[in-house]
Amino acid sequence: MTHELSSPDLWLPLYGDILYRYGVARVRNSDSAEDLVQETLLAALKAKDNYAGQASEQTWLIGILKHKIIDYFRQLSRESSQGFDEQTSIKKESDEYFNLKGNWQVELSTWSKPEQSIEQDQFLMILQECIDRLPSRMSQLFILRELDGMSSEEICDVLSISTLNNLWVMLSRVRVQLRNCLDINWINQ
């Protein structure tokens, strides 16, 4: 099946909010997300003659937005003076989740039970809130990896992380934090 593009002046009313939600869930900043929507639509306008009709209009636009988001992340990593690679040892230091011996300092969680499905809107909302509470670079990392399924190698490139090991240490930290946040905020009925 081939698709056809609708008139460009319909893009904003048809897809503006969808693109915005997609963007803001990733860049976590409404101003930047709005700019990205604009850039995406302008880029789409320029590229419309190359549209091959293989993907639906919405998929095509989201594809353009994805590239814009990656550019945005790349630029952020370049601009940030702080390296992404600090504090990447899993050994010694204690934190709020592990004591000095490396044992858990948190209780057994209750939100994930094998027999129960957690695809409820309410759970997703809490998950989003927990992601929002992460340091912004950590949440970018997590979203690119988990929501967009980007490969670890690509993420290292986009976010300027020097080694895969560092990436894994950071991902591990994010998961510990998220799991704990979910546990505190999700009240199981």
Binding site: P8, D9, W11, L12, G16, D17, Y20, R21, Y22, V24, A25, S30, E34, V37, Q38, L41, L42, L45, I62, I90, F98, K101, G102, N103, W104, L108, S109, W111, S112, P114, I118, E119, D121, L124, M125, L127, Q128, I131, R145, E146, L147, D148, G149, S152, W168, V169, L171, S172, R175, V176, L178, R179, L182
Partner: protein, 96 residues
């Protein structure tokens, strides 16, 4: 014997890569005895699968109520209209 902290790292890495034989043995030995780590490994796997599923559906985690503000909608519309006009002018120019 690995610590819980080390095992939490392996549980997370396991979602990304196949663990080495030595890593896997360490992981299995620890989780066989440690309920906290067993639950942890299960929890992050559930979370991992959930995120993938949400991503594949093209959903975001945001509710439908998250929308472009009126202001930015107007601003984007202006920018688009201008670009469209320029585009048309160019086409006309080429046609002439």
């Amino acid at each position: 014997m690995l610590t819980c902290k080390e095992v939490s790292y392996l549980a997370s890495k396991k979602l990304d890569r196949k663990l080495s034989f030595r890593e896997l043995i360490g992981f299995k030995m620890h989780t066989a005895m440690c309920r906290l780590c067993r639950h942890y490994a299960r929890d992050i796997k559930v979370l991992h699968k959930l995120m993938l599923k949400v991503g594949e559906k093209g959903q975001t985690l945001l509710p439908e109520s998250a929308k472009l503000s009126e202001q930015s909608r107007d601003r984007i519309k202006l920018a688009l209209d201008k670009a469209l006009q320029d585009d048309n002018k160019n086409n006309k120019f080429i046609a002439d």
